[in-house]
């Protein structure tokens, strides 16, 4: 009886770790940028290349910063959700078109609808590196002071909106 106890305990510990591992996503790397000021940049706007967008323009507002591209398959999943959200008008969404061509990006917005207040164009992906982007789509929640409060890696889902993003935005807006 006692002899079998130790191997059984070791087995149960290993099972515990493996079970937990089933629910972890190895693609979700915690971002060191959460809690830090959003990196500054100045990028041309998609439909008016001569005007520039900078995160400074959004100071005083809580906003979503969504990195997307027309070549990105998962962006197609989240796009209708973003469109719906923009219709609700509850939080401004700024897009960043990452390593894409203007024509294709414009076509994408014409077809799927445009949820963005502004779309900045990061053609060579430099600003993406500053934001630690490694898997498009990625979405940042940025507070009134311009600090990154949350980063969603991968598409924005209804679950993520309900459980994380919307409560967080409400809390930040109340501040």
């Amino acid at each position: 009886m006692k002899r079998g106890l130790i191997p059984l305990l070791i087995f149960l510990v290993v099972v515990g770790f493996l079970f937990k591992g089933l629910f972890l996503d190895p693609r979700e790397v915690p971002s060191p940028l959460v809690g830090k000021p959003a990196p500054q940049f100045s990028l041309p706007v998609l439909d008016h290349p001569e005007t520039k967008f900078s995160p400074k323009d959004m100071l005083g507002k809580v906003w979503l910063f969504n990195v997307w591209a027309s070549w990105c398959a998962a962006c197609r999943d989240e796009h209708p959700i973003l469109v719906e959200m923009s219709k609700a008008g509850f939080v401004p969404i700024v897009g960043m078109d990452y390593k894409d061509t203007r024509a294709e990006a414009q076509q994408w917005l014409d077809q799927g609808g445009n949820p963005y207040q502004t779309v900045a164009v990061d053609a060579d992906g430099r600003v993406g590196i500053d934001y630690g982007v490694y898997g498009v789509p990625e979405t940042y929640v940025i507070d009134k002071a311009g600090v990154i409060a949350y980063k969603q890696i991968g598409p924005v889902t209804y679950d993520a909106l309900r459980d994380k993003i919307i409560p967080l935005v409400k809390r930040l807006q109340a501040q």
């Binding site: 060191p32 060579d124 590196i129 500053d130 934001y131 630690g132 490694y134």
Partner: protein, 153 residues
């Protein structure tokens, strides 16, 4: 077939070999050898976040190429290895380093194997001790000693 012809043939073959010996992988833009060495050294120490189990040096993902270019530019500006790694860690976190640093979050990773080794050693030691006790000499009783000597007669 004269030997001269053979020699000529060999010379021709050697000449044909020369370009392939000189050929190298295409070096984009930067002809500065020191910079390339630094880029190469750093890119084997940094993780490609798209493929995760490859270094930037091994990966052909677009992000890895972009990061390599970024590193190349920083190296050309004369930044040290540590400064470049810090620059990337600020953006991508410690995960970007292929060799994780030692800190509270990674202590289990670094010390765990030694812990297991120690636990194994202790287990082995106690098991051997127990077994030794089991086989320890038990003195014969007088009766048994008599039996043995009778059998051995």
């Amino acid at each position: 077939m004269t030997s001269i012809r053979i020699i000529r043939l060999l010379a021709l073959l050697c000449a044909l070999q020369v370009p392939s010996l000189l050929a190298q992988e295409a070096q984009p833009l930067q002809p500065n050898a020191a910079v390339e060495v630094q880029v190469e050294r750093l890119s084997t120490q940094l993780r490609c976040l798209v493929c995760q189990n490859q270094t930037i040096a091994d990966s052909h993902a677009e992000l890895a190429q972009d990061l390599k270019q970024e590193i190349r530019e920083m190296a050309a500006k004369g930044m040290t290895d540590q400064a470049i790694i810090d620059y990337l860690v600020v953006r991508y976190g410690d995960f970007v380093r292929y060799k994780p640093p030692f800190n509270p979050a990674t202590s289990l990773l670094w010390l765990g194997p030694f812990g297991l080794l120690l636990a194994g050693a202790i287990g082995l030691f106690t098991m051997l001790r127990r077994r030794q006790k089991m086989t320890a000499d038990v003195p014969l009783t007088a009766d048994e000693a008599r039996q043995v000597s009778e059998l051995l007669k």
